[in-house]
Amino acid sequence: MKQYIARAFDLIAGDPQADRAVPPTGFTARLTLFTAGAMAFLAVFALALSLATGRLADRWASELARTSTLRISAPDDQVDAQLRAALAVLETTPGVAAARALTADEQRALLEPWFGPDLPVEDLPIPQLIEIIEEGRGYDPTGLRARLQAEVPAAVLDDHTRWREPLVDAAGRLRSLGWVAIILIAASTGAMITLAAQAALAANAQVIRVMRLVGARDIYIARAFVRRFTLRALVGSAIGTVMGVLAVMLLPSADVAGGFLTGLGFQRAHWLWPLVIPPLAAAVAFFATRAAALRTLREQS
């Protein structure tokens, strides 16, 4: 490990003489900086998406799995009786930790995203909802449905199974897509830096000829290019990462936007994840440039 750290510091410190031998190439320098910056910016979003969908999947999987809803659709004069009967059934059902009827305000809040504020819930034929919190291994839905059918015919049990699984599956796929996007971004960065390195090597064919003539080994020549491109990628991606993090910070907050966008961003320790992007981009640049340089030097001989 110490050896790798020492080599990383050597790379950053560089060999001033070797660096001077290769003249600065403005175009490839700008191209590498821009590419690394843009890719790091996109990587921050891909990372945010992946982490957010991961959180969403976990939340849906855990929270929804522990709750279910009982809906009572009955004529106005029977609602209270059916409600009491349903609560009585639930209180004696093994695996049910708690059951409570949602208040009019809570029902209004649930409908607000679709109908807007100040919905007159009391005047509408909206079913009464009961929230059920499970405990232990949960209740037996088949048995509960049978009891409800007998004792509370107006009650319909929704244990969320129908729509929880596709949602969790969708969130899981989104998370995978986020990681695929990060891999593609890394690969694209490598490809772009390879092209830029090859352009720089081609532009410096005369320099390479002279260095070979005086006995320079391929690795010595390659090192001058590798160091430059690695540092450019590091600087460019650091700038891109900062910009990306700022952009994520400026996204609408959870409380304001609600819905799916709620979680798109970083939370707590996840804010540290973007710090990985610049070193990763530098590593991609290091290996891409090294491979391109050594391959080009072999072909030029």
Binding site: Q17, A21, V210, R212, L213, V214, G215, R217, D218, R298
Partner: protein, 224 residues
Amino acid sequence: MIDLENVAYSYGGAELFSQVNLTLAAGSFHFLTGPSGAGKTTLLKLCYGALQATGGQVRLFGEDAAMMDRDAVALTRRRIGVVHQDCQFLDHLPLTDNIALPLTVSGREGEAAGNLDDLMGWVGLRKQANQLPPQLSGGERQRAALARAVIMSPDVIIADEPTGNVDWEMSQRLLTLLVELNRMGKTVMIATHDMNLIRAAKSQVTTRVLRLKDRQLMQAGAEL
């Protein structure tokens, strides 16, 4: 030092030369002549490992060049100083850095300080030390190329048309420097069209003159 045994070289299906036998012994002084396109530069490149023979065997300091890896070729080149007609400098670096480049690439830049000043004086370029190569005259560039070729104190010096772009006076000056190096025990091989240069050298040092013509390398005739 350098041995070529039945060496052939073909490019694009055409044979440039074949059955070439040549030995560059320590302290020897060779001229290589021949018409343009005969393959003089190619033969020199075989001698410093820049090309691989397509036939026969090239031995550089006892090692078969065909069996050497790229690093070994690079290390071998540090024992051979090369002077090209077009000099080949890094135009963005001052003259001193260009001349010290062989030391730099071999990690011996610390040795440059003392050697460099003496060497710049020897080739008469102290005043031009901080100039860039494009600012130098043809003769100055050739002397600088010679200084770069010898800064590592190589065993062999190979020069390809070193006097091609300079006047007679300057070519005499360059020849004097090369003869001095030979007297110090260095092996010298010069490719040239300039018969006057060869005659001038023969009056100062024992030379062997080779002629590359019609795909064969032979001892040059009595006209020299």
